[in-house]
Assembly symmetry: C2
Homo-oligomer: 140 residues x 2
DNA sequence: AACAAATTTGTAATGATTACAATTAATTTA
DNA sequence: TAAATTAATTGTAATCATTACAAATTTGTT
């Protein structure tokens, strides 16, 4: 996804595509690693030495409000962000803290329609231990 | 659920049933309101004027580790707790912040078995607006 | 009662996030 | 094009949930 496409995507979501905003979205869409704020910051500060964390928070909240990214509240002490807003689940390894995408077969999961609620977001979270960390534990 | 039953339940989970611990669990099991730490504190401090928030945090973490309660990470800035550890979903209203239980019909939801992951916990979260808040909005 | 172990407490530290006012950059108007 | 207006970005300080830690209290044991 090149910068021209990113600019158009932001515009389509009612977001003026400033340089900072484009770089932040570019980070999310190329890494796809469900980063927390600091992961984005540590990477972008090298290209944009003046970048402020407040700008990051402002921008990510703007993206959230415009529906450009989704918020992942699977961790206990910090937010994570996902540029993929399509319906899929997330698994967090309690050992390495890594967050994995969980893709479902088409009919694997059908969430029920909720009466008495206007639902904006649906999330499916799993916690446990990932294969890499299970193997590491066997070596001890 | 009386105190004798609570004491037995704690013991069955390897937790020595001190008075504080029993009162904290009693709060969770009788209110069933998915409280945050402060909600428990504000109620119990009236009966136990010496209660410390550190004790609350310690106790809730102990309950979590022993599998007596489950952690709800649906809110963006604080943890919520649920004494009902059976599989059910949660809906959080963005307006009033209230958390509702979502019960599924038996075959309504079948979460897939994940290869390459040892899953300890599965959570289904919804966010949106509850009926009470939708009606309130119509009045304006 | 005396000792040891477990529980509870109070205070201070941590760390993610937000508030807010100042600065800088971009856009519009004259 | 320059001044004026608006929007975006920055830096610092505040907020607030949670944890660290050592002291005090309670409980259980010889």
């Amino acid at each position: 996804m090149d910068m021209k496409e990113i600019a158009m995507l932001l515009k389509d979501h009612g977001i003026k595509p400033s340089h900072h905003r484009m770089k932040i979205y570019e980070y999310l869409v190329t890494h796809r690693n469900h980063p927390n704020v600091d992961m984005v910051y540590q990477e972008l500060i090298q290209e944009i030495p003046t970048l402020s964390k407040t700008t990051l928070y402002n921008t990510l909240n703007l993206f959230l409000n415009k529906g450009l990214v989704q918020l992942i509240t699977i961790a206990e002490n910090e937010m994570h962000y996902d540029a993929d807003v399509s319906m899929h689940g997330h698994f967090m390894c309690k050992e390495c803290k890594k967050i994995y995408d969980i893709w479902f077969e088409d009919n694997d999961i059908v969430l029920p329609d909720l009466k008495d609620f206007a639902v904006d977001e649906s999330h499916i979270y799993f916690r446990g231990t990932c294969l890499a960390c299970l193997n590491k534990q066997l070596q001890d």
